[in-house]
Amino acid sequence: MSKLVKNAVGRMVPTEINGQEAIPFKGVGKHRPTGRKYAPPIPTAIDYPEDGNKVVGSLKEALQKCGLKDGMTISTHHHLRDGDLVSNTIFDAAHEIGVKNLVWFPSASFPCNEPITKYLEDGTINRIEGSMNGPLGKFVSQGKMKGTAVLRSHGGRVQAIQDGEVKIDIAVLAAPSSDFFGNANALSGPSACGVLGYATTDYLYADKVIVITDNLVDFPNMPMEIEGNYVDYVVVVDKIGIPEKIVSGTTQITKSPDRLLIAELTAQFLQESGILKDGCYMQAGAGGTSLAIGYYVHQILKAKGWKSKLGFGGSTKYMVQMLEEGTMEHIMDAQAFDLEAVASIANNKNHHQYPVYNAYNFHSKGNLTSMMDIMILGATEVDVNFNGNVVTHSDGYLLHGIGGWQNCLHAKNVILPIPLFRDRIPVIKDEVTTICGPGEMIDIIVTERGIAINPRRTDLIEKMKGSKLPIKTIEELKAEAEAICGTAQKPNISDEIVAAIKWVDGTIIDVVRKVIE
């Protein structure tokens, strides 16, 4: 094992991962990769069919034509979410071909990808570099994966591709509609998912690009969210996704009275603190509590006659409602969470598709996230220094991906509405199990039993003096939870590193270690 050094948030991290040099986290905004962006090899048009027809017989054939070899990196996007029928079949084909030690580089994985574990076991896949959900995270936590997992934020994934930290050999991009040339979008077809924003970097930077669709349409397929000029092969299959698992037919505001209370407290806080104002930029996720906050914010905007200038998606029907009722002027969207949002992207000229690399990426010339006034995020744990964890649970298991969470921390006001404990598991700790975001970037914790403001935000503390809202210190909240739940013992975790958590700039902010069962 390589040498461990203490990084800027005090965590011991390695200087080498999977044989590659790793840079310990230096602090927010302290690391600056230089040089020129990575570029794929130069292709020539003469090597491609003059009639434009790039359709080949099967995914296996396409992979072979791309020159699939041992140790290659294969990338996928996660717009088909838990209804993804493509990713697993890539490795079925790779297994048939007989290659080994592949790296899977998804923009996220879902419980539907559990069958991948058999290829991690038999050596077809060496490791996953990407956000891991559910069963795959558990597999990694048990120390069963050969290589070390690398978790990146959505923006961090783009950064890693652009500065050459990760070189994609083959991008296999599922597309709800494509023509034979590879022009693809997600607006129609049985697996329509609205946008394909996570695939943009992949098709621009991969050595080889395969588009796989269950909906081959006439040329030209417009708009071309994936441009056929970057595509090597097109594969047609019966089904790329299970529609009801791709977008939920209905995203629902939480019915839990406790979470509704948290949402109400959050909206009141936003109003009283002046963070919510006419013309503000805001983001609200698709979780039940976030949706409820969006609903209350919508009511406040209506009552005041205010408008939010811009909503940053993942969008939902609730955000679409704001757009339609005039309390929001624009939605900029990297993904659509429900059918109403998909329809709105297709029909509403103020509902814009917006690729993640402009919203999030460290190597962009400016990010959308830092412009946001209101950023609502979740966390599995927060500590008394406001450090946040989104990837592991208190028992040490890796069970979630980072998503856009780290990138969104760059907003002006980051608010975490979270319950103080979940089925006895406390959320506020002395030290989070895994640091995914440094405390200096998290401003407000809203729980059902009180609101803690980061002591660095003296402006907010001053503003909220005299408020009737239950403003407490984070230590008080932690003590309150411990009085109810008891003081947690340290879980049984070994020294063996099973995953690295990257910060948005490519440095290592923390690692995840094997759980002793």
Binding site: L261, D395, I425
Partner: protein, 406 residues
Amino acid sequence: MSKSVSVGNKGKGVRSDCAVTLELTESGGIQLQVESKVNAIYGKQNEKLIVDILSFYSVQNASILVEDSGALPFVLAARMEAAIRKVTGSEKEFLLPVLPQNQYQTTRDRNRISRLYLPGNTPSLMINAGIHHPDGVILDLEDAVAIDKKYEASFVVRNALRNLDFYGAERMVRINQIPRGLDDLDYIIPHNVHLLLVPKCESADQIKVLNQKIDELKAKHNINYDIWLMPIIESALGVIKAYEIATAAKNVVSLAIGLEDYTADLGVKRTLEGNESFFARTQLVNACRAAGIQPIDSVFSDVADMEGLRENVKRSKSLGFDGMGCIHPRQIKVIHESFAPEQDEIEKAKKIVRAFDEATAKGLGVVSLGTKMIDPPVVKRAEKTINLATNLGLIPENWREEFLNE
């Protein structure tokens, strides 16, 4: 007596609870198995608590399976105690130290606008009840608990009274119907209960029997504060006897009406408009006012219909009720808002009370506002409105100063 018992709840959807299966064995010591998703962080604590309880009851040979879904210590203790007492017949109580902040009493005339019902054997609904700030919480041992779960529920309710913080709410328990409800008292009276709801009450005698047992227990446990009673009128006979019940004892602070049972007793359907219960409700309000206690309305059972609830509360307020039961935390706010005096009511009341203050200061026997004379009952009603408004935080305690500065 059976040597093996199971208590508590488990399975999909069960949270903050556990199931305990206990079998006494002849030899082999303690065989303990704890299945829990919080073992990694609370395993040692849970095991210590379980072992402490076993040794408290001198259980030396037993096989125990605890299937835990994140039960808090007071719940785990309640489940263990219920299992051990069920199988051994012991009457010893295993008590965790009472929370210091739970040692407060309540006054006879405090607000009882909202009271949140909490099923006595479902701890997950109790834990966060207080954060929604109902005036009272009702730990229910009666209709919300299945017959075969009543025994184990008593321990959960007792421990909740002692060890769960309801953030200032009045702690109420709905006991079972008299006479069965008398057996519940041992678990409740010594443990910081504020008020008992007495279901299906039909006579002053029931209240007297109840108070006799309460007094015995109070004497036994050196309790010198009042324990209030809120009889629930749920039958035609109960309605007829409302005044008798309201005046049966000094610790009766309120009557509540239960319309599901009442309409069943009449053999009519309960409607949204409530014409079928108009007599009963006005009779109950009248009896309470005559006795100087609080009339409390029945629950509104459609938890999704907030507008319907709002309408219902307005009707209830106009009939003279002071409060209403809630079966879901989201109803609390609506009930408070709708029972609260409206802004113009408050403004008018302020003027009347000020006029009265001025008249008293000047030694005048007659209160007038502008050119209008104000009768004493009008002043009394205005004072009531002001008190309610200050209690609900709608106007500050020192509103008089602000009023003068305007």
